[in-house]
């Protein structure tokens, strides 16, 4: 059983992401944020658990378009993310990336990717660099269940396995690819089993438990740093919101969302904390602090100046 202090840290990190996404939902409703936005509500434990096992001063994370949570878990400031989604000059990429293609290398987040599966070979490349530069870097490629059916992911896993690259392939199995159940798109829905085809270890983990994720990723990091090669981890989780903001989720069977809501990691970790004897009065301030932090960050970003169109031709080339 982990220390309550560790659980409280996880709670804080997950709650930050949750409040962030809720505020993004609001801002999308007001029209301040525009376009397609993919929220990660319900999947926070994956990001928080994994990042707790990484050394982000040297390790590198490559998430998907559903990457706000990863970026925050890596330690990027909420203000710069809000500003990015709001198209502000102060955005973490000055408005160039947007919700789906954020980059925050200063925090170990080397780019969301909006092309399903495309981050996997790039992460393998980052790991390849590590085999030459003595950094001990481990790269973590995160992608969805559906991404496993993309050719590039297959190529990346074989490439990494054969060269024993220090990379972790982490599947966020939230049961759906957009509006389609993964169970209808594969014959074997234990996706971690694909690892054996490449001769690397694979395991399924509880993706709603940050400690379970942390432990599994920590072991994968250890292996990777010691030159034992890649691993495929399948974190079972669910999004408790639509694929994108506005998705009515008619495709989800009755009851599924309710069940997912009762299993989601934030309520669960609070229940665990209370069960471990922590008092509600220790939990509340953490939540309140993060709520304030997010509200402030959003307000500040909203007050920031719009991105400057006169810069739009800069940085295409060196």
């Amino acid at each position: 059983m982990p220390e309550p202090a560790a659980l409280l840290r996880h709670l804080e990190a997950m709650q930050r992401i949750r409040f962030f996404e809720e505020e993004v939902t609001r801002l999308r409703g007001t029209g301040d944020v525009v376009g397609s936005v993919h929220l990660c509500n319900g999947q926070e434990a994956v990001y928080v658990g994994a990042c707790a096992a990484l050394d982000l001063s040297r390790d590198a994370v490559f998430p998907t378009y559903r990457g706000h949570g990863w970026t925050l878990a890596c330690g990027a400031p909420p203000h710069a993310l809000f500003a990015e989604l709001l198209g502000r000059r102060t955005g973490i990429n000055g408005g160039r990336g947007g919700s789906a293609y954020l980059t925050a290398p200063e925090h170990g987040m080397y780019g969301e990717n909006s092309i399903v599966g495309a981050g996997a070979p790039i992460a393998a490349g980052a790991a390849l660099a590590a085999t030459f530069d003595g950094s001990g870097r481990v790269a973590l490629a995160a992608f969805g269940d559906g991404a496993l059916n993309q050719g590039a992911v297959h190529e990346a896993m074989n490439f990494a396995a054969v060269r024993r690259l220090p990379v972790i392939f982490l599947v966020e199995n939230n049961l759906y690819s957009e509006l389609t159940p993964i169970a209808d798109m594969v014959r074997i829905d234990k996706l971690f089993r694909r690892a054996s085809a490449y001769g690397m270890p694979g395991a399924r983990i509880d993706g709603n438990d940050p400690e379970a994720v942390r432990t599994a990723v920590a072991e994968a990091v250890r292996r990777a740093r010691e030159g034992e090669g890649p691993v495929l981890l399948e974190a079972m989780t669910q999004r408790i919101v639509g694929h994108y903001i506005g998705d009515a989720q008619h495709y989800r069977p009755a009851g599924e969302l309710d069940e997912a809501a009762s299993a989601e990691p934030i309520g669960r970790i609070i229940r665990e904390l209370l069960a471990a004897g922590v008092d509600q009065s220790e939990v509340d301030p953490v939540v309140a602090r993060v709520a304030r932090e997010i509200a402030d960050a959003s307000a500040q970003a909203l007050a920031d100046p719009i991105a400057d169109p006169s810069t739009v031709l800069e940085h295409l080339y060196a």
Partner: protein, 327 residues
Amino acid sequence: MPEIKKLSYAEAVNAALRRALEERPEALLFGEDVGKPGGVFGVTKGLHKLFGDRVFDTPISESAILGGAVGSAMFGRRPIVEIMWADFFLVALDQLVNQAANVRYVSRGALSAPITVRTQQGSAPGACAQHSQSLEAFFAHIPGLRVCLPATHQDAYDLLLSAIWCDDPVVVIENRTLYHAGKQEVQLGGEIRPFGGAAVRRPGTDVTVLTWGAMQHRVLDAAERLAGDGIDAEVLDARWVRPFDLDTLLGSVRRTGRLVVAHEAHTVGGFGGEVVAAVAEAGVPLHCPPVRIGAPDARIPAAPALAGAVIPTADVIAEAVTKAVHA
């Protein structure tokens, strides 16, 4: 029995798909989320219910989708598949260029691959650089393919049917900003026209502005403003970039003596270059040098304020046309 209905662009596409599935029992419709969910843009809504197994969802496997189309078309099916964004073609372009485009030619007609690939492209507010490109120039460069960009509700219906009835591989490039942007009267059930042919969207005498895709609406806006300034622009919608209807363009340019080409794709290496070059080769005398309007050398940024500085606006178009006419 032609009938007229008020439909959105997306509904017009849906009506064309429905008609194809009704009239062509060999037609199949598949792609990511196109079956049970009815498409991420709702374009294929209801079709799985109506046509059962002939309309189905696929894994996120663009090579399998396009290869599955090529292979089934070789055996008499008439697959209509979706590549959700033109940007995603780039993970599987082989199946279109090295496979579909070659089948008929290499077998001297013994085999063919009459597939229809629907996709949509372009910038939309907030969309990232990997979901914003306009790639028609890639497809237009490939002999063996046919390529159209329906930009009106009626064309969304008509061109898609022409594509499906065509015995060659056809890429139909739609635009997601048009799907739900309002209803218009669409004539359904009419005769299915052969592919090809530009359309005059606005007759005019002073300058020919050729365009295609969603850009045409900005061009028409610009033309209205120019009319206020006493410049009478003729607006042509290419509709098909392969085959490109050069004759209609040359006829127009011979009358107006001025040519502007406007597209959303990057100017450098865009299909506008092809058009200008073809007119120059034809030796049509012009009162002023031709002008291309497109996206400058940049990636497409997500923030609307930034994207707005890259994708040509009606203002930019009007200004460029004015400058050309007064040159």
